[in-house]
């Protein structure tokens, strides 16, 4: 018998503790586990270290809520919607410390974590200043006599947060055809605890019909939660596009402390649960429009 992994957002988010290093799937405006991010903010989590390849609105919201004190990642940007201003302010004020890595260096740190290695090397970053400011990166002679490489120290996040299209109640995770960013390929494999939200919980038979689309095995996953439109306001290909209006509303609010507080109250801490959030942001009508990738 497989182990039951199905739980609620509230209980899943409670697996994350203050001070944890949390790897969050996200590529600028894409595929972030936003329902979990909102729940972490609602629960008042503090001092989180966030690991992102390219962090977007989840990083800005966590920064705005005072929930994070560290960022490990390759970039933070909402692409066409610009820099994450609350994150940027917090970094410039010394509230968030940044460990900036190139993509291969982040992948190497997580890859070493996943494979229980002390480090993995990369040829990226050589000649940049990013090596000098980071104790987790060390130049290393090639023991076989070739050019030097950069040793990237293993990173084992306490938790990885991932959003998926489908999951069964035992934590087997199915993805529909779409681009696969490194988050999914390596973050859950490196992390101690893995929490997955899924657009829908399906019978295992549905996954058996396309086992090539099962991307994570149940034994690796600690908790799975059903969260339709769980990546909103980021996109989740192929199901729905990013919410342009909400990103614009956020960047408008982000300029001003009071407006930020109002925005967070209305959309993040105010709604009692994910269902109420979805109603607040426009319900089924809005979902249908996003499903047509309007304004993208």
């Amino acid at each position: 018998m497989s182990t039951e992994k199905l739980t609620t957002l509230e209980e899943a988010a409670a697996l994350v503790r203050d001070g944890d290093t949390v790897a969050i799937q996200n590529m600028a405006t894409q595929a972030a586990p936003m329902a979990l991010v909102r729940e972490l903010i609602r629960q008042g989590r503090r001092e989180l270290g966030v690991v992102c390849l390219v962090g977007g609105i989840p990083v800005d919201w966590l920064a705005a809520a005072g929930a994070m004190s560290r960022l490990v990642g390759a970039a933070v940007s909402m692409e066409q919607f610009g820099l994450c201003q609350r994150y940027r302010k917090a970094v410039e004020a010394g509230v968030i410390r940044v460990e900036e890595l190139s993509e291969t260096a982040l992948n190497a740190r997580l890859g070493a974590g996943a494979r229980n290695l002390p480090f993995l090397p990369t040829r990226g970053l050589i000649g940049t200043d990013l090596i000098d400011v980071n104790d987790n990166l060390v130049m290393l002679d090639d023991p076989f006599g070739g050019p030097s490489v950069v040793a990237c120290k293993a990173l084992v996040p306490d938790v990885a947060l991932v959003h998926a299209h489908k999951a069964d109640r035992f934590g087997n995770i199915g993805y529909e055809p779409t681009a696969l960013w490194p988050d999914l390929g390596i973050m859950p494999k490196a992390a101690t605890t893995v929490i997955v939200t899924a657009e829908e919980i399906v019978d295992s038979e549905v996954l058996r019909a396309n086992p090539d689309r099962t991307v994570l095995p149940g034994f690796m996953v600690d908790a799975v939660v059903e969260a339709p439109f769980g990546a909103h306001p980021t996109s989740f290909s192929p199901r729905y596009g990013y919410d342009t209006a909400m990103h614009l509303e956020w960047i408008g609010a982000a300029r001003d402390d009071e407006a930020v507080a109002g925005f967070m109250e209305r959309y993040v801490t105010g709604p009692a649960d994910h269902a109420e959030y979805l109603e607040t942001v426009g319900g089924t009508e809005r979902q249908a429009a996003l499903g047509n990738w309007e304004q993208t």
Binding site: M27, A28, T29, Q30, V54, G73, A74, A75, V76, S77, E79, Q80, L83, Y87, R88, V91, E92, G94, R97, V98, E100, L101, S102, E103, T104, A105, N107, T122, R123, G124, L125, I126, G127, T128, D129, L130, V133, P147, S148, P177, T178, A179, L180, W181, P182, L184, G185, I186, S235, S237, P238, G241, Y242, T244, W293, Q295, T296
Partner: protein, 272 residues
């Protein structure tokens, strides 16, 4: 394939179109090209090259979607509408970086940087002297920190040539160019390096010995003095008349306006 070569010079080209046509000329049939975030000029250039002189230029959209067929340049150069109808999704953690690191493929890379210095080093990390206490936190190096160090030919594009973006020395190197100039890059064991800088005023390249940036061509109507005025370091005085950058043909302009980017997304990069 359109008869773009025999088409007359455009009479109403705009600067974005000139930059796109110039960047397109850097990519040849059989090359592979990929793009990252907010890269309307490179995306339009790859697309234009494919419609004109390089129909077999391979395009890896957003570094994930191989040979996509978007109907126009969308609002994001990283999101799904750009990589629609791809022939393959390249898994980014493993395959994209396998292809990029291998050395045989994706040998050219387009770079946008907040700061670029006279030796072609790029900065997208921090403004200010102290990395840990920056005056301005920039988005971060993303893939540039890799692409600058793994033997790629780098093509910088800069739609806003001014003394803040073209500086004597970057505050922080997040993309390795020729480092301190001369043989420093080669001494560090790095191959490849910056080839060209295409701005809204001119095209710059790098002196083969000193590796100092120099003006290779001036866009029509722009003087060397104007470029110097807009540049945060002293440019080597030209020894002979500087050539004028070729303007796009009427057909190239038509392809960009009507076929590739009818929504003018490319103009979003200008005037910042």
């Amino acid at each position: 394939m359109s008869d773009w070569q025999n088409s007359p010079a455009s009479e109403d080209w705009t600067i974005d179109e000139l930059m796109i046509a110039r960047l397109a000329a850097c990519f040849a049939d059989g090359d592979q090209a990929c793009n990252g975030m907010a890269s309307f000029v490179p995306v339009s250039a790859f697309w234009l090259a494919r419609l004109t002189h390089a129909p077999d230029l391979v395009w890896l959209a957003g570094a994930v979607g191989l040979e996509p067929r978007p109907d126009r340049v969308p609002a994001s150069t990283l999101e799904a509408p750009l990589w629609r109808d791809s022939i393959m999704y390249v898994e980014q953690y493993g395959d994209f970086w396998n292809f990029a690191l291998n050395g045989r493929w994706l040998t050219k890379f387009c770079v946008g940087a907040a700061q670029l210095d006279r030796y072609g080093n790029g900065n997208n990390s921090v403004i200010g002297a102290d990395y840990h206490n920056p005056r301005v936190r920039l988005p971060g190096t993303a893939g540039l920190g890799d692409m600058g160090s793994i033997g790629k030919a780098l093509y910088y594009w800069n739609p806003n040539h001014n003394p803040r973006s073209l500086v004597e020395k970057v505050d922080f190197i997040s993309c390795a160019g020729y480092l301190g100039g001369g043989s420093e890059r080669a001494d560090a064991g790095l191959e490849g390096g910056p080839e060209l800088v295409i701005t809204n005023l001119c095209v710059l390249d790098f002196h083969p010995d000193t590796r100092h940036m120099q003006v290779a061509s001036l866009h029509p109507g722009v003087t060397f003095e104007q470029v110097q005025e807009a540049t945060g370091f002293e440019l080597p005085a030209p020894e002979s008349p500087i050539p004028t950058t070729a303007v796009p043909t009427a057909e190239q302009v038509r392809l960009i306006r009507d076929g590739i980017d009818p929504d003018n997304m490319r103009r979003r990069e200008f005037g910042g």
